[in-house]
Amino acid sequence: MSFLSVLLAAEPAKAAAQAAPAAAAPEAHGPVADIISLFGSFGVDGPHLLVQLINFAILAFILHRFAIKPALGQMEERNRLIEKGLADAQAATQRLADAQKASDAKLNAASDEAAKILADARHAAKAAVEAAKAEATAAQTEVIAKAKAAIEADRVKMLAEVRGEVSRLVVETAAKVLEQQLDDATRGRLNEAAVKQLAR
């Protein structure tokens, strides 16, 4: 049954209903009649209520079709977007946490590397210092050895010079003494001895 047919069918019923109270009113008694009478005292009558219900249904249908459903669709879309945003936010948070973790790991690795480099640098510096100390010690030892050698050489040279000078003086003195002390007779005897030595 369509809305129009219901509405047309309701008009004779409404007219009959308006004509009926005069005839039927004296006959209606009981709780139902009281309730109807009560609703009637509030202005509620059956056909009018039916029409209102139909109007309300049409309005509800139109509202549901053109307002509520699109609004619900938009709300669902909004909810979907919100959920997606929340999911994205959660994913971003997760990624941020991962990135933070990776960053921390890299930072720790860099820190370890820096510590290793620092330790290596300290070790190298210590080795360089030790090498420099060793070199300085070797150079010092060499200088001392050279100085000692030079002193010893000077001492030996001086001793040799003194010895040579003393020897020269001794020989010169001996030669002068011999020259003064040897007479011809002694020299003659020495010459004879030298001749005999040559003959041997």
């Binding site: 020897s167 020989v171 011999l178 020299r187 010459n191 004879e192 030298a194 001749v195 040559l198």
Partner: protein
């Protein structure tokens, strides 16, 4: 004449100047007279210089130049010359000269050989050994 030919000619002239292994004054005179006749003065100068050097060397080979401190008997000089003649295998005559700087003993030179038996050499060796 080249230097080599001059030396060779001087050596040949020296051989002509020897008599019994010793330099003979007569032969030297004959050689010089022959050279004076056969060569000009310009050609003779280098040859005579080389010849003189050879004669001096040959004379030194036959002389025992003895330097001695104090007196040296002639017999001792002869004994020294005889010693070197025996050692070298040629006649050697003594030429003595007094040199008191030797202090005692003597020094003999025959050609390029020197034998020193002097006190001065011994003192010099002593000085070397002490220094």
């Amino acid at each position: 004449m080249s230097a080599a030919s001059v030396r060779a000619e001087a050596k040949r002239l020296l051989a002509l100047s020897l008599e019994g292994g010793a330099v003979s004054s007569e032969r030297v005179g004959a050689v010089l007279a022959a050279l004076a006749k056969s060569r000009s003065a310009h050609q003779l100068r280098p040859l005579l210089r080389a010849y003189l050097t050879n004669i001096r060397r040959e004379l030194a080979r036959g002389e025992a130049r003895i330097e001695h401190a104090g007196p040296l008997a002639a017999a001792d000089a002869d004994a020294i010359a005889a010693h070197f003649a025996k050692v070298l295998g040629r006649p050697v005559r003594p030429v003595a000269r007094r040199n008191d700087a030797l202090l005692a003993g003597f020094r003999v030179r025959v050609a390029d050989d020197v034998t020193d038996l002097s006190a001065s050499l011994r003192l010099a060796n002593l000085a070397k050994s002490l220094s």
